[in-house]
Symmetry: C2
DNA sequence: AAATGATGTTAATGTAGATTAACATTTTTA
DNA sequence: TAAAAATGTTAATCTACATTAACATCATTT
């Protein structure tokens, strides 16, 4: 199993010994999904945290009216999971679905305690990763409160130009919390200045 | 210095030895603020993470139109900080202000690495705390996208009845992302069913 | 106890973005 | 290569919530 992409990612944050790498390798698994496949479904208990090696996923919530609300995308070198369901082992509020053929490296809930115990550096890595995710999430709340949809779209485009290229526009709209029709209007406004 | 409230909080999540408690005590400080005082101001670098022992704080963002947007309140046993500024030691986007006389126990940035190194259990505690905060933040994003202001108000009221009692209504409105006038309307609607 | 400031309410009017619906374009499949 | 499915656009109409403004109530200070 090739976990090199994960090791490269980790090495940017903490340095593992050969022994730790060997142990880590024994604790994770590689998984491949086709475009359209679900990694997690609303209501199921999330048993795993995925590191995306290639491809792209979306995490979304389907509300009582059947409307889909995208919370995040994950591409190469990102983490993709419903952390809430994972940490409390309760039914998930979210779906995680592949929007391209996707390859992941997977940590499973049962191994997690042992992995943290044997490699405390990984606990540090996850602490830092989640700190950043939390900060980004707070900033998104602020933007949703204080900025217009147009401003939010421009920031998204600017922050994630690669992602905007590879996903359909109606998913960008969903991520921004607006309808595809309104995003279409915004884009035509921008085109004419 | 009385750090008992912090120790009680910690003991619910991880068990510290006497030695660890002694060390921890040497690393934190107690601080008192009056109602209205700022613990952190937008633009300043956040040097500390506060555990609230008594009182209440609000963290908020002032946008370019001078409008205030409240991200969170913190009461007894909660953490109150701009984590983004803290972890990256960059100017803060947020203000933290006391809305009651408030007493905190403070971890400072300079001690943090050492504290984690000496008491890895605290790194575990913070990982878990931030995981929960992140999950709550994601759920808030979903609610803001998929629910009406009235629904969000009812959930807030239900989730934090104590907080709703002790803060002015216009701050609840700001937290919900609506105007005080509209919250007033919602409340009168609810009163007549 | 009056005055000041902070907080809350009501109502008229305005607007960002939703909804609906019809159609255009692109991609995928048979 | 035609048909079907997925994606994107345009325009009319609607609505949740913002804005403004005037006033009411409560708390704090002098």
């Amino acid at each position: 199993m090739n976990i090199q992409p994960l090791l490269n990612y980790i090495s940017k944050i903490v340095a593992l010994t050969d022994e730790e790498i060997t142990f880590l390798t024994s604790q994770v698994a590689s998984r491949k999904y086709l475009k359209g496949q679900y990694i997690l479904q609303q209501g199921d208990i999330n048993k795993s945290v995925c590191f995306v090696v290639s491809g792209c996923t979306k995490m979304f919530y389907v509300d009582t009216d059947g409307q889909e609300h995208i919370l995040m995308f994950a591409v190469e070198d990102w983490w993709s999971s419903d952390l809430g369901s994972f940490i409390s082992q309760t039914p998930s509020d979210f779906n995680v679905q592949c929007i391209e053929d996707t390859e992941c490296i997977v940590f499973s809930y049962n191994n997690m305690e042992e992995t943290y115990a044997k490699i405390p550096k990984l606990e540090r890595l996850f602490r830092k990763t989640i700190e950043k995710a939390f900060v980004a999430s707070q900033k998104r709340i602020v933007r949703n409160f204080s900025m217009s949809a147009k401003e939010r779209y421009l920031i998204f485009k600017d922050s994630y130009p690669e992602i905007e290229q590879r996903i359909p526009q109606y998913m960008v709209a969903s991520y921004l919390g607006i309808t595809k029709e309104f995003l279409s209007k915004i884009k035509s406004q921008i085109a004419f200045q």
